[in-house]
């Protein structure tokens, strides 16, 4: 039944949207901007409300008289403002209901979307409470009807039980304080609504809160014309000795009021309560036995970033959530701006306008990122429109400025870039060294972004490896090196207060060094712990550096862990697998972030263990997690391989 309703709704929305696309153009189709239109109308309500409040007088007699004066004597401004205030408020209800209805019929309210859904329902309640409260202010016949009706409705509750209506039973029962109270309520509710709207919107990556200018212009102008043609008027002064027998009701805000008298207040409470409960529970209806979980992983090019997609999440949402500047506009399968190419894997294309993505395009691997959800691990490519935060992936040429052996099999190589080449990167990212035959070898930055004087790489010798053998046997200071970068999504997240645990395996220390030095540089106060797991003591090639950091920074701790200590190491520290050492120290990881970098084997062993101890997927950073086998096999330049110089083929 639910599916049937949704399919019918989808059919209706798609057909109306197609018609609107022809009329307005995809970019200015109001149905693709319902949320932001509601925001726009809210600003109109707020601005006009402030103006009205300046002239509104909070008294039994003054309330009606001041609103009347504003409406008639100042019709050209105050009257228009009042009308705009009312009509924009009505538009908010219409916009919100359409917005909610669209998300419902397209099934965009389950799984991770539950928070937006619930917060939206709360906003809707606040809009109604505030709107009904607003109709009490002018103290005309409609205000009398609404006030008395509200009191009668609330009085049904045992909490009030007939006491509220006593305040409106006689002409003298209402006093001036009522209007001060109502005014403060009206303003307070609006501010609360604004705060909740912000929360509602913040959870949606890339959410737009401003509609395109043509929509604002058309809508604003239309409302002004409506206000001039049919200005909002009062319906005569309130008189508690008589009944407002006939009222011009605002059916957007007050449709339940006639029901108070046709049914009973108790039945209306039942209707409103049951409707709210069903709408609130919708994200979990019908109930399912298994929990929602992370679904698939996306390798997104040209960023070369691996993103975990949540169940039911579109490709666009996954990308935006991870900070990728994926191009999009309508987000509803109507404009085609987010069209991308699926290089590997399969998707469910979702519901969209057929002419925007044809069957031929689908066959050619095209997909609309705003509608498509992954059916497997994916590799996809989009055409970028602008670089992320000014960080541009580009080719660079550098010269080897210095080389130093940090251990028998680890070489520190410092690269120097030309003076006019300002390479910007994030702590933890990596570069691809480009070999003459087009092959690539990936190495993480071991330097923090703020450092000048070139970039440092820590390269581990892979026996038989072409490039690393070259580094250890033939590379000389002054040699020219070409590379591309910066690349990768394994970088320090600075938008959290959670303590951070860094897990480095062997030369996985390099990007961790970059991140920690950056954290110390910017003055992180968060608790930070580094677990560096190696086989024997000789593999801790820069152990004195984290020890020095621990001495200098009280919020940092260093824990070296040896898996196979040699007798000559005389090791008295931690032994075993590095992730097991972490779990011994932190049995509950739910309040931590983990940055793991090392061999794919180490990370793959650690990830399920961390997850089993409460680590959220959102707090776990390592591009090597749960990779599609094809990605690990095919893409040498992807994040997952070679981090810290752990090249499979050197």
């Amino acid at each position: 039944m639910l599916k049937l309703v949704q399919r019918a709704g989808q059919w209706l929305f798609l057909h109306v949207e197609r018609f609107f696309n022809h009329t307005f153009g995809e970019e200015n189709n109001p149905l693709y901007h319902l949320g932001s239109i509601t925001y726009f109308l809210f600003w109109i309500v707020l601005a006009t409300g402030l103006y009205l409040y300046v002239f509104f007088k909070t008294g039994v007699d003054e309330a009606y008289a001041s609103v009347e004066h504003l409406t008639t004597a100042q019709w050209y401004l105050g009257g228009v403002m009042r009308s705009l205030h009312r009509y924009a408020s009505d538009g908010i209800v219409l916009g919100m209901l359409l917005h909610l209805g669209r998300h419902f019929v397209f099934d965009h309210y389950r799984s991770f979307r539950w928070f937006s859904w619930i917060s939206g329902v709360v906003v809707l309640w606040l809009v109604y409470i505030s709107g009904i409260n607003g109709y009490m202010l002018p103290w005309d016949r409609l205000a009398q009807f609404v006030t008395v009706g509200t009191a009668e409705w609330l009085d049904w509750l045992p909490l009030f039980n007939g006491t509220l209506i006593r305040n409106f039973i006689f002409e003298g029962a209402v006093n001036d304080r009522l209007f001060s109270l109502l005014s403060f309520l009206h303003i307070g509710l609006a501010l609360g609504m604004l705060a909740l709207l912000w929360v509602h919107t913040q959870r949606v990556p890339g959410a737009k809160t401003t509609p395109p200018r043509p929509i604002m212009a058309w809508l604003g102008a239309s409302l002004v014309v409506l206000s001039l043609l049919t200005p909002a008027m009062s319906q005569g002064p309130a008189d508690l000795a008589t009944v407002p027998a006939t009222v011009a009701l605002d059916w957007y805000y007050l449709p339940i009021f006639p029901l108070f008298y046709r049914w009973s207040p108790g039945q209306v409470w039942l209707l409103v309560g049951a409707t709210t409960l069903i709408v609130v529970l919708l994200p979990w209806l019908p109930p399912r036995l298994r929990r929602y979980k992370e679904a698939f992983h996306l390798m997104i090019r040209p960023d070369n970033r691996i993103v975990a997609a949540r169940e039911g999440e579109t490709l666009l949402e996954s990308a935006l959530r991870d900070g990728i500047v994926f191009p999009f506009d309508c987000r509803n399968g109507g404009c085609g701006v987010c069209k991308c190419t699926i290089l590997h894997g399969s998707v469910d294309h979702g519901v969209h306008q057929t002419e925007v993505l044809t069957a031929e395009e689908k066959a050619a691997g095209k997909a609309l990122a705003c509608c498509a959800t992954p059916s497997s691990d994916l590799e996809l490519e989009y055409v970028p429109v602008r670089p992320l935060s000014g960080i541009v992936v580009a080719r660079h040429r550098a010269r080897v400025a210095s080389m130093a052996r940090l251990a028998d099999d680890v070489m520190r190589v410092r690269l120097e870039l030309p003076a006019d080449d300002a390479l910007r990167y994030r702590a933890g990212q990596y570069i691809n060294i480009l070999l003459a035959d087009g092959e690539k070898r990936s190495f993480s930055f071991a330097t923090a972004p703020h450092e000048t004087g070139g970039i440092e790489l820590q390269i581990r010798h892979i026996p038989g490896g072409r490039f690393t053998t070259h580094v250890f046997t033939e590379m000389k200071v002054g040699e020219s090196v070409e590379f591309e970068g910066p690349l990768g999504s394994f970088f320090l997240r600075e938008d959290s207060d959670k303590p951070m645990i860094f897990v480095a395996g062997a030369t996985g220390f390099a990007p961790v060094k970059s991140m920690l030095e950056h954290a110390f540089h910017v003055g992180f106060k968060r608790r930070m712990v580094l677990y560096w797991g190696v086989r024997s003591k000789a593999d801790l090639y820069l152990a004195e550096l984290p020890a020095k950091w621990a001495a200098e920074h009280p919020n940092f701790t260093f824990v070296p862990v040896l898996s196979e200590p040699k007798p000559e190491d005389h090791w008295t520290g931690r032994t075993g697998l590095v992730h097991e050492a972490i779990l011994q120290d932190y049995p509950d990881l739910s309040a931590h972030q983990i940055y793991a970098c090392g061999s794919v084997g180490m990370v793959e062993a650690a990830h399920p263990a961390f997850a089993a101890h409460g680590l959220s997927q959102d707090d776990c950073f390592s591009d090597a997690f749960k990779l599609a086998p094809h990605v690990a096999r095919r893409t040498k330049d992807a994040d997952l391989v070679l981090l810290g110089g752990r090249a499979a083929n050197g």
């Binding site: 009329t23 109001p30 209506i165 006593r166 239309s222 009222v247 011009a248 009701l249 006639p258």
Partner: protein, 167 residues
């Protein structure tokens, strides 16, 4: 030409949108009370008598209490419910038994009822019981002329003599 048509179409659709807003903002009008009817509201808040009178504790009862709780006189707080009946032109209009409010049932009983009646002149009789024995110790009777759309409030205030008919 195509552009002009497109703008015209947009104007029509926006006009339709705001027309829908404007229309439902005031229409259709709602008839809350038919033109030949008036309204009678029964509304009051009144504290009835205590369910039990104060009494002296016996020495045995006092002995069972903790020393700091041994008050000689005990006055139960609970009140009896208020019963009110209204008769309109000889026909029963309301009969309400309103329990006292509060956790200890020691608060006032509150009553609110509303009913639409034909406009015109009516004979109204009301009586109220707030005593433990259930006797109707407050009575009043009046004749009121209720024009269409007018409200008659039947209030009760013991301090002002009992029933008040306000129209």
């Amino acid at each position: 030409m195509a552009r002009v048509l497109r703008y015209l179409s947009q104007a029509v659709l926006y006009a339709a949108f705001v027309a829908a807003i404007g229309y439902l903002s005031t229409s259709p009008t709602y008839v809350h009370l038919p033109p030949d009817e008036a309204l009678i509201k029964l509304s009051f808040s009144h504290a009835a008598a205590r369910k039990e009178a104060c009494h002296e504790r016996t020495p045995e009862e006092l002995a069972k209490l903790a020393p700091n709780m041994r008050a000689q006189t005990v006055c139960p707080r609970e009140r009896v419910p208020v019963t009110v009946e209204v008769v309109l032109d000889g026909e029963p209009l309301f009969r309400v038994v309103a329990p006292p409010s509060g956790m200890a049932k020691d608060g006032a009983s509150t009553v609110y009822r509303r009913v639409a009646v034909p406009s015109g002149t009516h004979r109204i009789a009301a009586r109220l019981s707030d005593m433990p024995d259930g006797t109707f110790d407050h009575r009043a009777e009046t004749t009121v002329a209720l024009p269409p759309g007018h409200v008659l409030v039947i209030d009760f205030d013991a301090g002002k003599g009992g029933f008040l008919f306000r129209s």
